[in-house]
Symmetry: C2
Subunit: 464 residues, 2 copies
């Protein structure tokens, strides 16, 4: 083929034989795998659609022999550029490895290929009264492999944990093309090094996951929501600390700052009082019989200084109505500015007021709207910086402000990301978050798994 | 000093200056740190009792320069020999680094030095209505650092997880004497590689933990126990699967096989029927108001084919009485034989019947009593092989039988250890449990943290 990129000329015959129509080098196909939800873009030299782990092993070995980068891809829903092939090479899309291999209800375990959609898995588990806890917004169209690679979370993580907390064992292909089996499909294990949790969140830089044994949880039979409105962020944050310090762990605990409340009201049409300075959505799940008691306990914890109003959604329709304010939020952000930088920093729960206050000060300093909302029970706030990318001054201010948001977060004992990961977007900030000896150790771990640096180069770790 | 072992001659002056009376080379002191609860013994060349992380850094660097092994030690309660200095060198006991640095109830976080006793931490947390979930039998006299190094669990792990599930961040000293900071004291994080969970369970072979930020859980206000007696193991195991498949996760779910029940009755004096073929102790914890509903749900799940009797302990005195059968067990084992090999294998919950059946067949084949009990909700059974170590034939049979127990466990999709770890005791079985490419990967990770192999040599990984 005349358009074949030079780098994959040496691979082409072997990969065509290995993968058949699962080896793609034409420009239009390459373009379709060049981007992710970060809106960054970089053309790969080829796309591979393997159907078996043996093909992945052969592919990685061939790429290693030819010094060609290998970039694993789920469905490209991540927001950090982790799936963008910035050094070109071969994108390995797992869309054809999408079987649910086994569901074992008695063992609370499902075995899946990486390309299974999170939503398809949940649908299959429903019949068994089970679910897999990670629930990113993208759940309907993101893959389990992608969720694991990025340690995806979601609102439910406050009670049930993120992806890393819900994996038992992984089969993966390292940068040397070795197939490794990490962990066991049991809920306890103390047999050597825990490589499976190390692979979770490593964004395809250590190994390619080809099978996962997932830890499942019995589905709660009922759920019920509260909406608590506070005078100010500090009152709401104190309520978060009270909610997290008592034994009934909420199944969701979402926060909205004053700007977010205003947007939800003025643009989204949500029924919210004008004096609202912050809002918490609190949800509990469990047995229909015990839920009223749990909701009572959460209500007691939500009450305190600065509470303006608290509403208890007695049924599913009322619940939907309460959540409407939260759902109205993301679309209404677009009314403020055409561009948005959405980062998902984390601070200890007790530091939420300082984070929100500090972000508001940055909003004034840089003369740009910044709206905060997110998973308060984990201190995981989505900081949305709104600007016009076409305006050079705004563009520059937005990126300068975001750097300051990271610095503020770190000064409060927090970290750069709770569930989106690092990818391309935050790697330049890694040396602020992680000290030099620890970064050196991470590089040594990377070299142990991928001595030639062919797996997703240019991601997660900063340049040396 | 005339008795100074040759290997530490080069270190002696520097370490005396660094550690003062925290540097011990006399024979009696060395003897006191030569053993652990595995009853294995090997004399170290010196003992170090550091009080600061800086001392640990200097010590490891000096040991590395002189090629001297470094063996971290909590209180030596582990059963696998992980703390025995088989290659001599310096034992680093963390008994003087035992401060609780900070308790932050609003963040559900405690920061501790590694030498804090688990029990002392729990006592300090009680005032805040919090606890740290790992509850090994040794909790009163084992250290948090030791618990983390071995990924200690306990009965509560079925609901609250083991040590690895309850750590947020670790500060540690690698084999090159670098101080690294892994993780953040937040309950969510997707910032680079998860080195902190990798260090948990690594038995001092990757780094020495000098500070830990622990994830705390609000203490339940009430608890209540059930005892269910079954005709046979299979009926009990099916009940375990039913109990784990419904939404009320028990806070403990302990199993006893027929021999264990018989011992508890005949030797321990517990009130148990003669036809009992297996027993489950089930406990729930939570709010006093919701607990009756939870217990009802557990009772319903416990009911089924093969159930002989079920007792609900309505108050704490009745609870203690029910637990008496379980507590009578360990002492009564000694009436069967003077020697005991206690291994803590894990299988998927659904495979418990095959494990117990297979172990009973091995007991007949090798003509030695084997008693199984343990943490059924995690499939983590303690297999107690009873024999007379002074009898050469029994000794040989006991060890041969144990190898077969491991092979059986692995054939059922299980693993060698749930909470005791590998240490010296099981390392020769690692190649059966973990395939060659994965072991090679573990060795590469070890080399990344400890390139000269000075940290706890001869443990966890088998000889090449």
């Amino acid at each position: 083929m005349s358009t074949l990129p030079t780098s994959v000329v040496g691979l082409d015959a072997e990969m065509s034989a290995l993968l058949g129509d699962g080896w793609r080098t034409d420009a239009s196909e390459r373009l379709a795998y060049a981007y992710d939800n970060s809106r960054r873009q970089s053309l790969p030299d080829a796309v591979a659609l393997p159907t078996t782990r043996e093909q992945v092993v052969a592919l990685v070995r061939a790429c290693r022999a030819h010094g060609v980068p290998v970039v694993a891809r789920g469905r490209g829903t991540n927001t950090t550029g982790a799936a963008v092939p910035v050094a070109a090479g071969v994108v390995v899309s797992f869309e054809r490895m999408n079987r649910i291999v086994d569901i074992r209800p008695g063992d609370r375990c499902a075995v899946v290929e990486p390309g299974v959609l999170n939503g398809d898995l949940q649908a299959a588990l429903k019949a068994h009264g089970l679910f897999w806890p990670p629930d990113p917004t993208s759940a309907g169209y993101s893959t389990v492999g992608g969720n694991l690679a990025c340690n995806a979370g979601g609102p439910r993580a406050v009670k049930y944990g993120a992806s890393r907390d819900n994996v038992l064992a992984l089969t993966a292909v390292t940068g040397t093309g070795e197939l490794i089996h990490c962990g066991t499909a049991t809920t306890k294990g103390a047999t050597g090094y825990d490589l499976q949790r190390l692979l979770v969140g490593s964004e395809g830089t250590l190994a390619l996951i080809v099978e996962a044994s997932l830890r499942l949880t019995p589905a709660p039979k009922a759920r019920r929501a509260l909406r608590a409105i506070y005078r100010d962020v500090s009152s709401a944050a104190q309520a978060v600390a009270r909610l997290m310090a008592q034994p009934v762990t909420p199944s969701m605990l979402e926060f909205m700052d004053a700007d977010a409340v205003r947007l939800a009201r003025d643009v989204g049409g949500a029924d919210l009082p004008h004096e609202a300075g912050a809002l918490l959505m609190v949800e509990a799940d469990g047995d229909a019989q015990t839920l009223p008691h749990d909701i009572e306990a959460l209500m007691r914890a939500a009450e305190g200084d600065g509470l303006i109003a608290i509403d208890d959604a007695a049924d599913e329709a009322a619940r939907e109505k309460l959540w409407a304010a939260r759902k109205a939020l993301s679309p209404s952000l677009r009314t403020l500015a055409p561009g948005k930088i959405n980062e998902d920093v984390v601070v200890p729960v007790s530091r939420i007021p300082q984070l929100v206050d500090g972000v508001q000060a940055l909003s004034r300093e840089f003369a740009l709207p910044i709206v905060c909302f997110g998973h308060a029970g984990n201190g995981n706030l989505h900081v949305n910086l709104l600007y016009d990318p076409a305006d050079a001054s705004q563009n520059e201010r937005a990126h300068a402000a975001m750097g300051r948001v990271f610095a503020l977060t770190l000064s409060l004992g927090g970290t750069l990301s709770g569930e989106h990961g690092i990818g391309l977007a935050k790697r330049e900030f890694m040396p602020q978050a992680i000290d030099a000896p620890t970064l050196t150790m991470m590089r040594a771990v990377k070299a142990a798994f991928d001595p030639d640096g062919i797996l997703n180069p240019g991601k997660l770790l900063p340049d040396e």
